[in-house]
């Protein structure tokens, strides 16, 4: 989940960066556009200011030269027309593309040319030629207001700004002096800013490209992560299932191992019970005999019945010992190796002695530790039983099982000659057995290793010494 959140955040940072790149570039370009417009506006104002007085003076001069009605006067006086047009021509320059005078046609919305300052024949209009300007409303505005009007052209070829100066007769507009600014000023601004414009345009394309790439790869990555997550989930589920299967298998092995040990236990119980049962039988026979002979007094009967009761109690204790042996400890308990060994020998010692096997104890550890006593008893019992089985199988002279403790170490050794080297690496494998006479399950040592290493977090080691096999248990004995 944490990883998922981390991945999600990473993707969001990715998206955020992409949007930031795009928005940043667009903002810069918008700012640039606004700055460019501002420069154009300022330049326009400067141009207009420069032109205003000139146009005004010209309009005054035309008004003065043409009498009451401009159209009629100019129509009738061709010389005046030529003179005024020559004056207009003087101002045609790189800045001023066209300078001409128009008035409103008597019918309709059209205008007509009265004077034209154009030098080129193909550009020059005829006197009275009808003319349809692109921004008629601006012309009408200048006509009505009798004040100069200027505006930026958008569709007129080669014209940037148009300045309209009304030519007044008795305070009313009789004609308009039109001054068309060439694109020179606009081009100057454009050329000055073209490099920056180019760089910013490229930045926008790069920004959009990066944005698309980032979004595309984020999408791919997102999909990939989803597939991986689904794969991971499946894998985790599979691992959980396998772990559970292994746990169940292990549990089955433990059960199997315990059942195998149970069979051996019955034999041990038989050994344990033989002596008290014999004593009970003997006491019973003694009572019967004394009763038949008439020699059974109260004191004797009480004494024998007490002895029988003690033997019965012993038998009951033996049963309890065996029952406890098969209970699993759920929590760690404090125990010493000595207590552990005494408990196990209480079950198995009689059986071993009956088989003429010498049991030697070198107990040097009284240190208490925390562990699972019943599980440890099972292991110790298994190690001792294995030693017993091999000693009997090999019919060793002076068979001896030695149990040693030292600090947190417990050793069980025998004098049966040791484990064959080729079997040494396999003895802890499940279902591996070297027992010939008995039917070994091959689970004893496997379970012992599992209990010591998996449950008790200790170590179970094996080696051969000069006399036989040595099994060593090492426990850390910590509470948790």
């Amino acid at each position: 989940m944490r990883e998922k959140i981390k991945n999600l955040r990473f993707i969001y940072i990715f998206y955020f960066s992409a949007v930031l790149v795009l928005v940043g570039t667009l903002t810069i370009y918008t700012l640039f556009g606004e700055t460019k417009n501002y420069i154009e506006e300022v330049t326009q104002k400067i141009y207009i200011q420069d032109t205003q007085d000139l146009a005004y003076n010209f309009a005054e001069m035309i008004a003065n030269e043409t009498g009451k009605n401009i159209y009629i006067n100019l129509k009738e006086d061709e010389n005046l027309r030529e003179k005024l047009e020559k004056n207009l021509q003087l101002f045609i320059s790189k800045r001023y593309r066209y300078i001409y005078v128009v008035d409103k046609a008597p019918k309709g919305q059209n205008y007509r040319f009265l004077l034209d300052g154009s030098k080129k024949v193909e550009e020059k209009s005829d006197f009275g030629e009808f003319y349809e300007p692109l921004h008629v409303t601006k012309f009408q505005e200048a006509y009505k207001s009798a004040h100069p009007v200027y505006f930026t052209q958008e569709n007129a070829h080669g014209v940037w700004i148009t300045f309209l100066q009304p030519i007044l007769k008795d305070g009313k507009t009789d004609a308009l002096l039109v001054v068309d600014f060439s694109m020179q000023g606009h081009k100057l601004i454009d050329n000055s800013l073209s490099e920056l414009d180019g760089v910013l345009k490229i930045s926008i394309y790069v920004g959009i490209f990066i944005f698309i790439i980032i979004v595309f790869f984020s999408y791919i990555d997102h999909k990939r992560v989803k597939v991986l997550e689904s794969f991971k989930d499946k894998l985790e589920m599979r691992v959980r299932q396998e772990v559970e299967k292994n746990r169940q298998k292990e549990q089955q092995l433990i059960e199997q191992s315990r059942l195998a040990q149970m069979g051996e236990m019955i034999s041990m119980i038989a050994h344990q019970w033989r002596q008290p049962l014999s004593a009970i039988s003997s006491a019973s026979a003694s009572i019967s005999l004394k009763a038949m002979l008439g020699k059974l007094d109260n004191e004797t009967a009480l004494e024998i019945s007490t002895a029988i009761s003690d033997y019965a109690q012993h038998l009951s204790t033996t049963i309890d010992d065996f029952r406890n042996f098969f209970k699993s400890n759920k929590e760690k308990q404090e125990i010493t190796y000595t207590e552990l060994i005494e408990n196990v020998l209480g079950i198995i010692e009689v059986s071993i002695e009956n088989k003429n096997i010498k049991l030697v104890k070198h107990l040097h550890s009284n240190k208490s530790f925390y562990s699972y006593p019943n599980e440890l008893k099972q292991v110790l019992l298994n190690l001792i039983k294995n030693a017993e089985d091999i000693l009997l199988e090999k019919k060793v002279e002076n068979p001896t099982i030695t149990i040693e403790t030292d600090e947190n170490i417990l050793r069980v050794r025998d004098n049966a000659g040791g484990i064959p080297p080729d079997s040494m690496h396999k003895i802890f494998d499940p279902y591996f057995s070297t027992k010939l006479d008995k039917n070994g399950t091959g689970l004893g040592l496997y379970m012992s290793k599992t209990i010591i290493e998996e449950h008790c977090h200790g170590k179970l080691l094996v080696k051969n010494d000069e006399e036989g096999a040595v099994f060593t248990i090492v426990l850390d004995g910590k509470k948790d």
């Binding site: 309709g108 154009s118 209009s125 349809e132 569709n155 007129a156 080669g158 039109v178 068309d180």
Partner: protein, 139 residues
């Protein structure tokens, strides 16, 4: 699939960026309305004008001026064949519009502004009817 989409995007982008042919658009709007038919068979005096009309499906350029020609477009028709001499003319300069007797209309640039004009009398002579939308340009 992605390649196709990219190509389409590129085409749309290029078309959006391309400059419109203003003159051709105007001819395509005005002349079919007056002649009420397409394609109109045209004879022009210059290669430049012919090139403009060649791009349109509304016009058909005739290489030699003959009886089949329906319209002359241009301004320098000095040596027209007798079959073509009296065909209606759509002028491309003010001078031609003013001077040529068979010029019924004109489209030209004046002070950087497009100008369109018609002569009512000449239109009548050729039995051409000017649609209402264009009547304001007629004199």
């Amino acid at each position: 699939m992605i390649n196709k989409k990219l190509f389409l995007l590129l085409v749309v982008f290029t078309l959006a960026c391309a400059e419109d042919n203003y003159e051709l658009k105007l001819y395509e709007t005005v002349l079919p309305l007056i002649f009420t038919k397409t394609p109109i068979k045209i004879y022009t005096d210059t290669q430049e004008t012919a090139k403009i009309f060649q791009q349109s499906r509304f016009f058909y350029i005739v290489p030699h001026c003959d009886h089949s020609v329906e319209l002359l477009v241009g301004n320098k028709f000095r040596h027209l064949s007798p079959a073509c001499a009296d065909k209606p003319l759509f002028s491309t300069t003010y001078k031609s519009f003013k001077m040529e007797p068979n010029s019924f209309g004109a489209f030209y640039w004046r002070k950087g502004r497009p100008q369109i004009k018609f002569k009512t009398k000449t239109l009548h002579r050729y039995h051409l009817i000017l649609p209402k939308t264009l009547q304001r340009y007629a004199r």
